[in-house]
Symmetry: C2
Subunit: 267 residues, 2 copies
Amino acid sequence: MICLADQLRAKPYYVHPLGEFASTLGAAKSTISEDLAALRLTFEHFGLGRVETLAGAAGGVRYVPRRDPSRIRVVAEELAERLRAPGRLLPGGFLYTTDLLSTPSIAERVGEAFATYFADRRPDIVLAMEVKGIPIALMTARAFNVPIVVIRRAGRVTEGPAVTVNYVSASSRTVQQMALPLRAVREGQRALFIDDFLRGGGTARGVFDLMREFRADVVGVGMFIATREPERKLVEDVFSLLRFEGADDRGNAIVRPSEDVAAIHAG
Amino acid sequence: MICLADQLRAKPYYVHPLGEFASTLGAAKSTISEDLAALRLTFEHFGLGRVETLAGAAGGVRYVPRRDPSRIRVVAEELAERLRAPGRLLPGGFLYTTDLLSTPSIAERVGEAFATYFADRRPDIVLAMEVKGIPIALMTARAFNVPIVVIRRAGRVTEGPAVTVNYVSASSRTVQQMALPLRAVREGQRALFIDDFLRGGGTARGVFDLMREFRADVVGVGMFIATREPERKLVEDVFSLLRFEGADDRGNAIVRPSEDVAAIHAG
């Protein structure tokens, strides 16, 4: 049963025919079915996600990694608390988050939160901007069992013909470029953009422009942190895990779980 | 039992006191012990890693993610086969690997292979060079339950004081720079360097120089692919998953699992 759980979780969203398990595990189909029923209840009980059975010729069983909303709220609150600690606020109003984003167990929980929130969007790829957002984007991609595509800042593409777009970074107020190799995204693909920090939304807007060139759709934007100001962002419909509201009178960051997190429901 | 497995695998190498499980799972210690014994056998049987019990005051149980050597060889052979396909060989003798490295399930299996090979080195951090090696480095870090530290190419560090070293890239024959924020690595830390491609070893040599500045130790170098030529690399004791030997007469890449992979033993 452990092994069934392992195979299901190794490939989220992939529909395993029952016969596949029977042959790799050397067990009767009836035993597999009983084990799956028990797994379904266990996963549900502990908020580990769903085990779904699909009927028909293309049927089988698949694992959908939805985390329990209350658990996501706990993760968000723990992260907010760590970001409120002294020394996190950097010159220029930036927040030091690299150590958290670079810890695999944290990146994994953040990725699972995004995968839960965006479960209905069914992305084909997860987009990341180099460099800091890559770990949380990869863990989101892992939860959807889809590839990650890393957008490069211009002048660094080494893999043949590329598409380049300009964007205005609200933080630096300069025109910059982002680029992707032509072979990186196919027409009609559904892309979920995941990044670590959203202020004005200039970068995210650039990602929409870039995907338009590929005739691909941005089906969602997920941010680790979004600032409260400016309230009007250049993109709409952004899910952020945390909200960064400025500094308190001791010079520490004010960070809270976002309203989006409070609104996640079990679905 | 599924939940026990989940908690163990979420934090490899972390020693869970038995009481912790008893309280979070609401079960008696004797039940937990029986379940752990069953888990140990199951993990062993399916080559999922080891469940180890540590006695004493700081004792408890931990999960060590060692994959079965025969399974690692299968993964390496599958990847080599995909890299031998037409269209992979790029101008300049490069190999198109981005799509594989960017697929989370592949990055995960590669990371587990590195974690198995380097299990005895006990790294405190996993080092990656931006950008392409990040997914496999992150998955290696995940298997060791340690943070990843991403080395930036110079001129791109935005997080305060940094240490910069020069290195000679054997591929481009130019002097380049790599940099890390001072706060990224602490004195005495054990660093495992993971990257996607090794030709002459100039970059890896630079990583050794960089860690010397931090008074940290490089305890291992793991590469997704190493070229056969030049045979003499600038660094010794490199583990590579695949060996890239040039082009065949149809212009496809010649790629095989490395001799290192054949030499992995169950340990």
